[in-house]
Amino acid sequence: MSPPGDTVVFKGPKIDSRRIKREIVPETGLASAVDGFLSGPLEGAPEEAASKFLHANYNLFTPQRSTLRELQVEQVSRSPAGYHVTFQQVHQGVPVEGAKVSVHMTIDQRVHAAYSRLKPEVAGLDVQEMAKNGIDQAEAIQIALASIRAAVKLAGPARAEQVILTQETPRLTWKVLLSTMRPAQEWVVWVDARSGEVLQRREISMG
């Protein structure tokens, strides 16, 4: 929380990183949250303004500027506070699970906070190599279905997309989304794209 009156106002997108508040991820030394400042009003659509901010201050969030080229706009929201832009990190066309950065701006597009979970460590991964001799989408769905042990009636078609899971060793996975009628549940299952091993499951419906 910023104590009263300590917000620093800057003119352009580049902020003085010595004068902001930040939370640092100990393992990487990178910022997971920065606030206590306001950039100047940034021009362009909100996503363009947010992108300008990230490019001007990339070294807070990633050692390589190239990581920013891997960001895709996931969501632009308007609220009474202003605009909130969330970017998803994508490596060689494959989303990196949980690797997002959000930029928060006032109505006149002055950035006042940013939160980052970027994963610059995926930069060296070769997705094509990781996918070699692996399972296909249909196999991944079958494995996911078996893993939830459901004599299930699906409420809709299952969907699977490749994502990079970065817990411990980065792995290329199939992220399978399943909605079942009996029991009424919705599952996300991450299946290793090479070995077919189920790495993680989450029941994500909310009651």
Partner: protein, 545 residues
């Protein structure tokens, strides 16, 4: 029509097709037949503003767009920031709102249409050429409440309000002069459960002169061919204030409310902009738009679910959330899944379960589930983490709080703070309610179960609403408190978009509320106006930062 390609943003009058559709003298209503050069990736709003500046002579009298640079003449009405940008397959459509001294001029709008490449090809304009009469309406201006009192003489609204009136200061053109006025939108409930032609229920817009209190214009903005339905608002226990109402009791007509079903498509089904009951088995079809059912009849649950999802999302739109739902939420109003209801983020669907009291018979259950969808719309993947983590408990608590705070006026003297007090009558062991938002739980009561722990979160939010004025004896203060609380809580969700859901805690939630308070205030360089209250209500439950 052949489009003329122009070298710059300035359009020569002889090369445009002009349409005099406006009734305002000397103002061109619409023009087209040209194409300005592409402006690359320039912000469409900026293109629109520069275009109107470059062509002020065509669009309105010169002084309308002159921004008042000449201090010797009265300051003219001016266009300020663009108000909305719409995207379509053709390109962008930027609406500009004319204002005078920061106050909108009623009906004073222009829309600049441009291609994907930002080439302007058409403009429609209703910009107002009049200058406000000096100091007109400024002296002894009526407050919002005084204006509402003045309106009551022409439109009896007291005790019949559905939702909070929306009041905005405007300049209104009346008898050739721009007068400072209140533009008031309000919705009135019927005097009886079934509306008659004379009771003036429905949606109204009133323009009330800020100086005299005269009602300058009163418009019935309800569409009489709109479909209608019958609902519980929120449920029979509250409507009848009957503590011992049994699940199988006969429900009188007075416990129902007739409502307009808005934003439906023309299919005859309950399918609209924000909700679609398509997943409901044997869904009802009413080509005449009369969805007037009672409990137990096919269609009643569908009407309940459709109406409250649409009603709340539209209410939030008016509270500053214009694009919360970009696609309709799928609804199964009677899903065969036992006595439970759920939100499915991947399906983008709400499924309501069964029971002696069907879940969708109780609007507080509908709003609880809708709360999950609202959070998902704000932050994709809100609850994608292990069960019972704090971020999921915050989801459960928010749903409970939304379900109670939305109906705070209906529950003011009976079952305030209750969730599911009709649904619970149908449990195997009938209960007073499903949960409450006004418990004494603190973080010391943490159980590691998301619904139970959600009662800590909902209690904090309830205390916040009360502290903002929800406990006032004045209805206006209570409504303002609800609007402020909803603004702060929903805004705070935007600051919880962290990719790693597992690590979010109630402390993060508190920090997000402090940020929301600050960044929705007039001076964002200082802590928000409610900082101490927010800290106090959280500290009382053992949550600090």
């Amino acid at each position: 029509m052949e489009l003329q390609v122009l070298p710059d943003l300035s359009v020569p009058l002889e090369r445009v097709n002009v349409y005099q559709h406006t009734q305002m003298k000397d103002v061109i209503g619409a023009m087209g037949g040209f194409l300005t050069p592409p402006a690359g990736r320039m912000d469409p709003r900026q293109v629109a503003l520069e275009f109107t500046q470059a062509n002020s002579l065509l669009i309105a009298k010169p002084y309308v767009l002159d921004m008042g640079k000449d201090k010797t003449t009265p300051q003219p009405p001016a266009i300020v920031q663009s108000s909305t940008v719409m995207r379509s397959p053709v390109g962008y459509h930027v609406q500009l709102q004319q204002t005078y001294e920061g106050i909108p001029i009623y009906g004073g709008r222009a829309i600049v249409h441009m291609t994907e490449e930002r080439s302007v090809y058409f403009v429609t304009s209703d910009l107002h050429p009049d200058v406000p009469e000096a100091e007109m309406g400024k002296a002894e201006a009526l407050s919002r409440q005084e204006a509402l009192e003045a309106l009551a003489a022409e439109l009896p609204w007291k005790d019949r309000l559905q939702g909070e009136p929306h009041c905005e200061k405007v300049y209104f053109s009346h008898q050739g002069l721009l007068r400072l006025a209140w533009c008031i939108d309000l919705s009135l409930s019927p005097k009886t459960p079934i509306a008659t032609g004379e009771d003036r229920s429905g949606d109204w817009r009133a323009i009330v002169d800020m100086q005299s209190g005269e009602v300058l214009q009163l418009l019935d903005i309800a569409l009489y061919d709109d479909p209608v339905g019958r609902v519980f608002y929120p449920n029979p226990v509250v409507a009848m204030k009957k503590e011992d109402l049994a699940w199988n009791a006969a429900i009188p007509d007075s416990a129902y409310r007739q409502v307009k079903l808005s934003r439906l498509d023309d299919s005859g089904y309950l399918s609209g902009r924000y909700a679609d009951t398509a997943d409901t088995p044997n869904r009802v079809l009413e080509t005449d738009g009369q969805f007037l059912y009672q409990r137990g009849q096919p269609g009643f649950l569908e009407v309940m679910a459709y109406y409250f999802v649409d009603h709340v999302i539209n209410w939030l739109r008016r509270q500053g959330w214009p694009d919360l739902f970009r696609r309709p939420l799928r609804i199964n109003a009677c899903a065969p899944m036992g006595d439970q209801s759920k939100f499915f983020p991947y399906l983008w669907a709400l499924y309501f379960g069964e029971g002696k009291v069907m879940d969708a018979e109780d609007a507080s259950i509908i709003l609880h589930e809708l709360g999950h969808a609202i959070q998902e719309a704000q932050v994709k993947g809100w609850g994608v983490c292990e069960k019972n983590k704090p971020v999921r408990a915050m989801g459960e608590g928010f749903g409970d709080w939304l379900a109670t705070v939305f109906f705070a006026e209906q529950r003011r003297t009976f079952h305030q703070g209750y969730v599911g007090d009709w649904d619970a009558r149908g449990y195997k062991a009938p209960s007073t309610c499903l949960r409450r938002v006004d418990t004494s739980k603190t973080m010391n009561d943490w159980r590691g179960e998301e619904h139970e722990d959600g009662e800590i979160w909902s209690a904090v939010l309830w205390d916040l609403y009360q502290g903002l004025g929800g406990d006032s004896t004045q209805a206006t203060t209570r409504r303002q408190a609800r609007a402020t609380a909803v603004k702060l809580v929903l805004t705070s969700h935007q600051y919880l978009s962290d990719g790693l859901r597992e690590t979010l805690t109630f402390q993060h939630g508190l920090q997000a509320l402090l940020d929301a308070d600050r960044f929705t205030s007039a001076d964002v360089t200082k802590p928000g106006p409610h900082e101490q209250l927010i800290r106090d209500v959280f500290a009382a439950r053992g949550i600090t930062v």
